[in-house]
Symmetry: D2
Subunit: 141 residues, 4 copies
């Protein structure tokens, strides 16, 4: 599981004094971005050729609230890599703690220049696929 | 299903030229807020007594992107009412259209003044419960 | 002054229990968008030709806090129309009240397809200009 | 000038492909928070005694757009320290660059437990004041 850190901003809280729930999806994105950066994947090359990865599904379960100025650890794992869709799973804890504050998933679909879902370029698929543990590759979609 | 309208703001788009995915949770909240307002529920009375309804679970599936300045219709339905947890389901379409752009759900838990999940006050539970169609009330949790 | 209404969302508050300050710029934008819509200006035509109006300057003074679920009235006024830059001023009050909660301004610049500031198309400039009271047109920039 | 870094998130862009203007106020806040953290100021102690620092004024000038995934350097300077109001100034550049992307200011007011502006506790005022260069302290307000 890839780990990255982020600190809760004031504007990310709401009047309950805790993180506003939609922001967990933003924290998931930070984890996903850093995982992809670390893989050295040619994502900009993908975009330069007109491809995009768009979110088609997202979920979050909030176990305990994160608060202003908390330093969070976002754990991100790629759990399914199809030719069109990839699935990431996430777990957020406090830095220095082990209790799960929030967990969830997203599914992203590759969209070609014509705006339609299409099998992503082979080399990008292979790079993602190589990060999976054996048995998780998914050629179905 | 309760219907309410909202218009996509510029800042709700991202550089893909469509609504940033986390904002669908914000649109769901608009629907939920307006549904509760219309029920005439004493939510402020609930808060005044130290109770809160916090989101413990949320999901969204995006079928087709919403865009800047689109007028959206948020359909909201209360689908489960326990003593502690309530579940809402949502469907977003374009005004004047019937195609589903996004759908999802949230589960909210009632939290007492001590910050812990507790059975919500009976009159609040009954008011929510009264909006369910027969057979959906859920006394399990 | 053009008036439009918007209601404070939960996620727009922060843990102080009031609207997070950056959101006043978002409310200003709602006012500006609705003013432009009402003028029937060919903004989409402008964008279709590759032009954009980008914010180069913004300010807000907060006199009294807006709170969750408040219905706000955003007053918007076009106060300067140059060939490149236009200036809007804003005043936010509570619906049914007269006290100023926040006020501010934005300056927008017209950007051509090459990404550089350029004099906006004449017909768009004239449409904006026509909304000014006499003596406010500004041909200097 | 205190320097801190932050990276532009996807959701902070808008459909123009650049950072949505209101987010510069969020970046300013990151700089302010880190400056205060570094001073070792007893801000939490201030809050524990019921005091808050609220934003009463903010401005931004955008010179050149920041883009997705840019690493930004937020320079923050405390430029006026009164007993009630403090003023911060900000300048944002690209990491490794010297060109100003955005600059601005905020004024914060100290609010006592009764919700009204009041002279902040002496020790907090003195700590802030000690960071000013000579001649900038401002005892007027």
């Amino acid at each position: 599981m890839h780990l990255t850190r982020t600190r809760v901003r004031y504007g990310e809280t709401d009047q309950m004094g805790v993180v506003y729930h939609a922001n967990y999806l933003v924290y998931f994105e930070i984890g996903r971005t850093e995982l992809i950066r670390e893989l050295g994947l040619p994502y900009s090359a993908l975009e330069a050729r007109g491809w995009k990865l768009v979110i088609v599904e997202a979920s979050v379960r909030i176990r305990a609230p994160a608060r202003y100025d908390d330093e969070l650890v976002v754990g991100t794992k790629l759990t399914q890599v199809g030719r069109v869709r990839v699935r990431f799973e996430y777990r957020i804890t406090l830095a220095g703690g082990s209790r799960t504050l929030a967990e969830g998933h997203t599914v992203l679909a590759s969209i070609a220049a014509d705006g339609r879902p299409r099998r992503m370029p082979r080399e990008f698929h292979e790079a993602l696929n190589g990060t999976l543990e054996e048995g998780q590759a998914d050629e179905r979609d």
